[in-house]
């Protein structure tokens, strides 16, 4: 509209902006206030749409809209004819159809417009970001998967990682919990870095290396696309690309001749907690306790034990004078809301373009107190300016603020504690709400979970994660050489997380029925306050030359970039006791106050990155890349490494013998890659140097009278001057195909990654008497290998266009060379050594069978059974036949670690104004083990237990002698309470394969011709669900809940007490002006 900047002065510019934006905002307000609006002047345009192929057959179902604005258009009928009412001032019509090239036609006053559409190679001609540059997908030679932001946002989740689940082959995302503010999901590419702890891939956001936590907290709205570099093509990130690279591109303003789009997204979700076990009621609890008591052979030897709970204790619950206390209901909500709102502004002219997005998300947690919640503000501003004809600038600012609040007494043990609180434990002493119960006799670990989750009692912890970054880029087209440009960028990022833990002293009470008094039980005294801040500063600088040249059919793209980074870390915290009623540090006591500094560090890198991408006639493809990478974490002289990659492709489909003879093949490409990469992830911050670290948090001693604490030092490892990074060789071969005019497209990949130089210390071979803190050495090697397959089918039928995508991937992992203590003998080697072996072996023993009667136990000959054995108990396999069952019978019984394969299926389509999508995700061949509360009845010394343990073996007559051969038993799933037959052997290994409907979305875009003149361009309503359906053989437990052995997603055995994963129902709308 206005070719400004050169011709418009500043005040005019301001005026223009004000006008454009103000007008949109007014429209927004008007539309929100008045759902129905007057009609503007209209005219009708008609015409017929035909296809270029198939002899000009009519095309039904083609979307025709005014200026490409959704909701303003119509679709062609079965004869390919359309009739559209358009505003009198409308300038152009847009014709779009799946599998065809979109056509924009100027109206120029016509009322009849016929159109012929041609097939597009849309699916393969996409541009894919591949690291420092982008490439057309058709000429891509590396293993790169990409996903558009629009395919991510349909999964409604606070964590962007979870919107990738199941949508990218070879990318595995595991959500470990839904705790607000935790952003607790792990991601790996082809199983690389899946371990304990998991090492995530490298995250590069708009060209700058950031981290997984940054990505997780981004707004899905601001993401344009995500690319995943899975093979040697990641070599352009050299030393840090060992586990693959995830490239994220944020949205850019689109030149619209000065027009502006304002998009408003709003969604409200209801979260439901999945697979939350409940605990038993009081009579059930008493029953189980008594059973456990009576089965105890040691206590039962001569004289039957008195019941732990007498009939007199049962009676009040049976006759209704007392009710069981349902702690789960009292502590947790079943449904909690979540909100997500965003506003984005997108527009500009050919001189200046802008994209702004502001996203606010709030997620509430499950505590009934309402004190667990997290909110996030994400702001992004991307500005592109054409400063001169040759000089372009881009300024990007991002900031993400996450604030999480949780009661000081809560955390991972909260669910555990609620499950374990006895059903006869009153919430309040004497049921008087003024006196929260603190009776140690009935409370687990003397914690009253209601109080523990209520910040009014225990105090509030506040964690703020604050990230800011700003990037400026300049691009200059160098005169004289066509295709040569210089680019530079500078990025400065900081992360300033802080925490404020207010640990409040409070009182619990015990009621003394004898004199009706309350004993006060002071807890958590004195109150304390601890505050801390950590600072991270990162800066990145890049400068480089890009050269693109097309001569005849030779196409060359190349670049050479210098990059350097510097990262800095420091942090400190302060602690005081609070004796006055305040929750602030200033009011704390001087006595025992403590300030703690974290060990600061800094790191630097500098690198030279280059690439030459050449193709001949878009048919023969060759890609050479390298990175010469230097890193301060390694000793001088061995800081630099060279990481090359080469990949090549042949588009067989473009050869005449196929193109001219096999009509149904539209695309066929063979490609292969080899790359060398590095990984500095396990190196320390500095090259090893002789010396001692001040280690006051770990080492101290009191000297003097009065005693004064002295901090001490720890000896550092002996330096290894030869220390270097992991050396990785990555091999990949792939086949891309498109069949039937690209209705069916697919990719097959096979890959292998060999790592050498994994760090290890020789502790395993050097006798301990040396006593040295041994240096790390590059000693071990391992290998990942596997395959991926993905298929997509897209088609249309009349007004219906639809797609189906499926992908499956598998990875195996083995240790090739591994330094370990020499085996003492061959069975030790077989059982305990790992070198040159697959690492997904689950060692254990079979649970062979179950005893059905005491008679069976008595006559059981295979192995001796303990005196306390009862019907319902399992016997294990005497695998080595030595007459006893012990650790020597262990042998491989299942796989552990990575699933045998992961897969995902996506289906979707549009029909008229409706759109629909669903994403399934699954894993096959994944085994887990749980422990403690989840598998043991009355765990932790007779505390409460989960309802599923009621399905157990017990005598028909509860008063029968358990060991009398005449006693008749009722079978159950679990053994007699107190026996562990479901926890050992193959019984303890549970198949956690699953398939889960991760996303289901249904949308409707309104025909709002009437409002289009008022500025509304799009109005869409949608319903969406997350984790709606799950199919799994796993009993009672969520298959994504981390267990002891579930594929490296779990970092600790207590993870299975995490806040459960949620199912969410979302209703939302999108308004675009």
């Amino acid at each position: 509209m206005l070719p400004f900047l050169e011709v418009v002065n500043q005040s005019q510019l301001n005026k223009y902006f004000k006008y454009a934006i103000m007008r949109k905002l007014i429209y927004l307000l008007l539309i929100v206030s008045f759902p129905v609006f007057g009609l503007a002047q209209q005219k009708t345009i008609t015409g017929k749409v035909t296809g270029a192929e198939g002899g000009g057959a009519a095309l039904p179902g083609v979307t025709v809209s005014v200026g490409g604005v959704p909701g303003t258009g119509t679709t062609t009928n079965t004869e390919g004819v359309y009739s559209l009412s358009a505003p009198a001032n409308a300038k152009e019509l847009v014709f779009s159809f799946t599998g065809m090239k979109t056509i924009t036609e100027q109206i120029n006053g016509r009322t009849v417009i016929d159109i012929q559409m041609v097939a597009s190679d849309d699916q393969l001609s996409n541009v894919v970001v591949v690291g420092y540059t982008s490439q057309r997908k058709e000429t891509l030679t590396g293993a790169v998967s990409a996903i558009k932001g629009s395919d991510m946002v349909r999964t409604r989740n606070e964590n962007v990682l979870n919107t990738l689940t199941g949508k990218l082959p070879g990318v595995r995302v595991s959500q470990k919990s839904s705790r607000p503010g935790a952003y607790d999901a792990t991601i790996d590419i082809r199983g690389m870095g899946a371990g304990n702890p998991p090492v995530p891939p490298l995250f590069v956001i708009d060209g700058i290396i950031r981290d997984k936590d940054y990505f997780a907290r981004m707004s899905a709205e601001e993401i344009e696309s995500v690319s995943v570099l899975k093979d040697g093509s990641a070599a352009v990130y050299g030393l840090r690309a060992g586990n693959g690279v995830i490239l994220v591109t944020t949205k850019t303003g689109k030149a619209q001749n000065g027009k502006v789009d304002i998009t408003f997204n709003s969604a409200v979700s209801m979260q439901q907690y999945l697979y939350v076990p409940e605990s038993v009621t009081a009579p059930e609890y008493f029953t189980l306790r008594n059973e456990s008591n009576w089965q105890d052979f040691n206590g039962n030897y001569l004289v039957r034990r008195t019941p732990a709970f007498t009939q007199a204790q049962f009676d009040p619950y049976v006759d209704g004078t007392k009710q069981s206390y349902n702690w789960m209901d009292q502590v947790f909500r079943k449904n909690t809301p979540q909100y997500d709102n965003s506003v984005s502004v997108n527009g500009g002219s050919d001189k200046i373009r802008y994209y702004f997005n502001l996203d606010y998300t709030k997620q509430e947690g499950s505590y009934k107190s309402g004190d667990l919640e997290s909110e996030r503000w994400a702001l992004r501003s991307n500005l592109d300016a054409q400063i001169t004809q040759r000089l372009k600038a881009r300024v990007q600012i991002g900031s993400i603020l996450t604030t999480t609040k949780e009661p000081n007494g809560s955390g991972w043990p909260t669910y555990k504690a609620a499950w374990l609180t006895r059903p006869d434990a009153p919430y309040y002493a004497n049921d008087n709400p003024a006196y929260p119960n603190g009776d140690n006799l009935v409370l687990y670990d003397q914690n009253n979970t209601i109080v523990q989750t209520d910040a009014d009692f225990v105090g509030l912890n506040t964690n703020r994660d604050k990230r800011y970054n700003g990037t400026i880029r300049l691009e200059y087209e160098i005169p004289g050489v066509k295709g040569l440009s210089a680019r530079g960028l500078y990025d400065y990022a900081m992360r300033l997380p802080d925490y404020n833990n207010y640990h409040r002293g409070y009182n619990l009470y015990r009621h003394n029925p004898s004199d009706n008094t309350y004993t006060t039980i002071p807890r958590a005294v004195p109150s304390t306050i601890e505050k801390g801040t950590t600072t991270y500063f990162d800066r990145t600088m890049q400068a480089g030359l890009y050269y693109n040249k097309n001569i005849n059919r030779h196409n060359v793209n190349s670049f050479l970039i210098y990059e350097q980074t510097y990262n800095q870390f420091d942090g400190f915290s302060a602690f005081r006791e609070l004796l006055v009623a305040s929750e602030y540090l200033f009011a704390g006591e001087d006595n025992r106050q403590r300030a703690t500094g974290q060990t600061p560090w800094d790191r630097a890198s500098k690198s030279l990155v280059g690439a030459v991408t050449y193709d001949f006639d878009r048919k023969y493809l060759l890609d050479l890349k390298f990175r010469y990478d230097g890193n301060s974490r390694f000793p001088e002289g061995s800081q630099f490494g060279f990481f090359p990659s080469v990949s090549a492709g042949w588009r067989i489909g473009e050869e005449g013998f196929i193109k001219n003879n096999v009509a149904w093949i539209s695309e066929l490409k063979l490609r292969g890659s080899y790359g060398e990469l590095g990984d500095d992830g396990t190196a320390a911050n500095y090259p090893p140097s002789p010396g001692f670290a001040l280690d006051p948090n770990n080492v101290g001693w009191f000297f003097g009278n009065p005693p004064v604490l002295n901090g001490g030092v720890s000896a550092l490892p002996i330096p290894n001057p030869n220390l270097t990074w992991l050396r990785i060789k990555s091999y990949n071969a792939g086949l891309d195909f498109g069949l039937f005019t690209n209705k069916l497209t697919g990719t097959v990949e096979v890959f292998r990654r060999d790592r050498a130089g994994l760090l290890a210390t020789s502790t395993n071979v050097i006798p301990g008497t040396v006593g040295a803190n041994l240096p790390q050495e590059n000693l071990n090697s391992d290998r990942n290998f596997g395959y991926e397959l993905s298929l997509t089918y897209r088609n249309r039928r009349n007004a219906l266009s639809y797609y189906a995508t499926g992908q499956i991937s598998a990875t195996k992992y083995m240790r090739t060379d591994w330094l370990e203590t020499p085996a003492n003998n061959s069975s030790d080697k077989w059982r305990n050594r790992t070198a040159d072996r697959y690492q997904n072996i689950w060692w254990g023993n079979e649970s062979v069978g179950m005893f059905n009667s005491l008679q069976e136990i008595r006559t059981f000959k295979t192995v001796p059974m303990g005196q306390g054995t009862l019907p319902g108990d399992w016997y294990l396999n005497d695998w080595n036949g030595d007459g006893v069952v012990d650790g020597n019978d262990d042998h491989p019984i299942a796989t552990t670690g990575l699933p045998i394969f992961n897969y995902g299926i996506s289906l979707g389509g549009t029909w008229k104004n409706f759109d629909f999508a669903m994403d399934w995700q699954g894993a096959y061949g994944v085994n887990v083990q749980y422990s403690e509360v989840l598998v043991e009845a009355l765990a932790f010394g007779g505390q409460n237990t989960l309802t599923w343990f009621m399905d157990r073996w017990r005598p028909e007559d509860p008063n029968a002698d358990y060991f009398n051969p005449n006693t008749k038993y009722i079978p159950g799933y679990y053994p007699v309470t107190g026996h562990n037959g479901r926890r050992t052997g193959t019984n303890g290994v549970m198949d956690a394969s699953y398939i889960r409907l991760k996303t289901l979305e249904l949308g409707y875009t309104f025909n709002i011709k009437s409002l289009s003149s008022a500025g509304l361009k799009e109005f869409r309503l949608f319903l969406s669900g997350y984790n709606l359906l799950t199919f799994t053989p796993l009993k009672d437990v969520d298959p994504e809940r981390p267990g002891i052995n579930n594929g490296g997603a779990s970092t600790s055995s207590i993870d299975f007490y995490n806040d459960p994963i949620t199912r969410t129902y979302t209703v939302g709308l999108k308004l675009k002006f």
Binding site: N512, R523, A604, V699, S714, I766, G768, V770, G771, T821
Partner: protein
């Protein structure tokens, strides 16, 4: 314009070129540490922190939560996994004996000391001779302490006194074990050097000449006992025994006993005296000896404070795990209780009349009448006041008790006198109406019939030693305790000297030391007559020793336990006496249970079996721990392994 752009781009590349050789932050070098007295102290701080002191945070058993037994991970639990619990000195429902050991192998700390001994001479010119010698002496003391920790577990271990290069040929690094005799002699040499070079005084928490002598006294007594009694183990042709790696020629016993006596007498020349500050109340005096930071009896003390950083392991949870919750503490409550078997070592009032019937007491707390004051200072009984509340301990009610104590059949449900509702047991707060009067069935602090080991008074006493009464109950929580641990005190040195003297045949002189302790203890007979009658029966569990000893020597041994109950010495004593497998031979600790006899309005105390029937058993494998198997894999020269492994 163009020039400007070029300049900017070039500037970005060249002006800000990043250096990769960054100065490491947070690292100190040897000159900073070894070059000044304060630096050396900082260096020694870490070594002191790791000394094998069996204190409040020590896991007597292999630690179930990982980590070193001396620096366990989840160490609030140390109180219920302590050595006293493991060896049944405390009755406890969590721990049993573990004969396997926990792979203690502190050669990393020994290397730290060796580095100092090797490199410190370079800095000699910076110090006066006396300071230099004192620091070298201190290093020797520290090294001896680690070797003592090793020798008492494994017998002979590799003696490493130089700094080895880990990259040296493997054959050089595979150091074989030295004989047990040489190992103890090496400890002697190091301590002798320490004694000769260190001054007589030092700041609190740091070694001096007398601290070294105290360790010498303990270590040499240990070595002497091993030399004398290992022969009774009948290890016969066991390879390690035959090679002198496990066991010492009995002929050497007196050499070590004499060294123990000499070291003890050297300590006596120091500024120490038995603690008598709170006389005439000998019970309180004995209790306060463990709490008074200025106690004249302390030779070496490890201090704690509840506010230190957690990973220094310098705070503990002892108070919160020894007394019932919530009246006395604000954590899980009592986990460990003195068994009746140990109470019987002291002067106790009779609980059974000559005719076999239980003695009737007008009040529960009358059990303390006539009790040895030292016992009252070691344990809390009914009526004793702690933190403003009185202990209330009772197990149940007998409607009538017409019979002998034996009729209760150790508390069995099957005994007629316990049946038919005559004996009433119950849980906390349970009441019973008898003849119109309502009685509490139990005391407020137990003993509860319906509960396990946690926070339930098993028997009639709670531990008093090391309990800090000045804390409020709310302060007695996890990691809430800062009571110092006394590593060496004069009382122990007297016991070491007495035992060594007796073993050397100097019996009257031995009893001079016993007498001093028993006067302070308030025992009825301060100096019993020497009884040379031979016996092979021990006092706890009527252990059947594999050898005979004079009754007075057994008395000295018992005196040791009376004096040092709960100080983590007993397990090591029954090991070095080679009696552990008999003392802990299916040992089922007894509990002393108090009952109210309703028709008489009197109380009786009955000797009962522990309701859980828990039994502690140690086998002969416990006298030596196995060399850590991983270490054998790396160094075959550590073989032969210890006897029975």
């Amino acid at each position: 314009m163009k020039r400007y752009i070029h300049t900017v781009l070039l500037a970005m590349i060249f002006l800000s070129c990043q250096k990769l050789n960054l100065e490491p932050k947070g690292v100190l070098g040897q000159p900073e540490l070894f070059g000044s007295e304060f630096g050396v102290k900082k260096y020694f701080t870490g070594i002191y922190n790791y000394l094998p002191i069996e204190d409040f945070v020590y896991y007597g058993n292999s630690n179930p939560n990982g980590g070193n037994a001396f620096r366990p991970n989840n160490y609030w639990e140390a109180g219920k996994n302590s050595q006293g619990n493991m060896s049944a000195e405390f009755f406890n429902t969590w721990q049993l004996v573990n004969n396997g050991g926990f792979g203690y192998w502190p050669y990393d700390r020994i290397r730290d000391v060796n580095v100092f001994i090797q490199d410190f001479p370079t800095y000699k010119s910076l110090y006066t001779t006396s300071v230099y010698n004192a620091l070298m002496g201190e290093a020797s003391f520290l090294r001896a302490f680690f070797y003592f920790g090793l020798a008492k577990r494994y017998g002979g271990v590799p003696i490493v006194k130089t700094v080895q290069d880990p990259l040296a040929p493997k054959a050089e690094l595979e150091v074989p074990r030295n004989t047990e005799y040489d190992t103890w002699k090496f400890i002697y040499d190091d301590l002798k050097f320490a004694i000769d070079n260190m001054p007589a005084t030092s700041e609190r928490g740091r070694a001096n000449k007398f601290v070294a002598a105290a360790l010498m006294s303990r270590a040499m007594l240990y070595a002497g006992s091993i030399a004398k009694y290992t022969t009774y183990m009948n290890y016969g042709s066991d390879k390690a025994y035959a090679a002198g790696l496990a066991g010492i020629d009995p002929a050497k016993a007196n050499e070590f006993f004499q060294l123990a006596v000499d070291a003890g007498k050297l300590v006596e020349t120091g500024p120490y005296a038995l603690y008598t500050k709170d006389y005439p109340d000998k019970a309180s005096n004995f209790a306060n000896l463990f709490l008074d930071i200025g106690s004249t009896e302390n030779i070496f003390v490890k201090d704690y404070d509840q506010t230190v950083p957690g990973n220094t392991r310098l705070r503990h949870t002892y108070d919160a795990l020894m007394s019932p919750q919530p009246d006395f503490v604000a954590f899980v409550g009592a986990e460990s209780y003195p068994p009746f078997d140990f109470m019987k070592l002291y002067d106790m009032p009779a609980t059974i009349n000559p005719d076999g019937t239980p003695v009737r007491f007008a009040n529960r707390s009358d059990i303390k009448t006539d009790m040895e004051p030292r016992m009252k200072g070691t344990m809390y009984f009914d009526g004793d006041v702690l933190r403003g509340k009185a202990f209330s301990i009772q197990k149940g009610i007998y409607l009538t008790y017409n019979g002998t104590a034996a009729d209760a059949q150790s508390g069995s449900n099957a005994a007629p006198i316990n049946s038919g509702g005559n004996r009433i047991l119950g849980g906390r707060g349970k009441t019973q109406v008898i003849g119109g009067t309502t009685y509490n069935v139990t005391g407020a602090h137990g003993n509860f019939d319906d509960q396990g080991g946690e926070n339930n008074g098993w028997g009639s006493a709670f531990v008093r030693k090391y309990i800090n009464p000045t804390m409020t109950p709310a302060e007695c929580k996890d990691y809430g305790s800062g009571t110092p641990w006394i590593v060496f005190r004069l009382g122990e040195i007297y016991l070491n000297t007495a035992e060594a003297l007796y073993e050397l045949g100097k019996k009257p002189e031995a009893f001079d030391y016993i007498e001093k302790l028993r006067v302070r203890a308030g025992s009825k007979v301060a100096r019993p007559a020497i009884d040379p009658t031979l016996t092979n029966i021990g006092s706890i569990n009527e252990a059947n020793y594999p050898y005979q000893l004079e009754k007075s020597l057994q008395f000295i041994r018992d005196e040791r336990e009376r004096e040092m109950y709960g100080e983590n010495q007993w397990w090591w004593d029954i090991r070095r006496w080679r009696t552990a497998d008999q003392v802990l031979n299916n040992f089922r600790p007894r509990v002393l249970s108090c009952y109210f006899v309703a028709n008489e309005g009197k109380y009786i105390y009955l000797d009962e079996a522990n309701r859980l029937n828990r039994a502690w058993t140690a086998s002969k494998t416990c006298f030596y721990e196995p060399i850590p198997s991983g270490e054998i894999g790396k160094n075959n020269k550590l073989l032969p392994n210890n006897p029975l492994y």
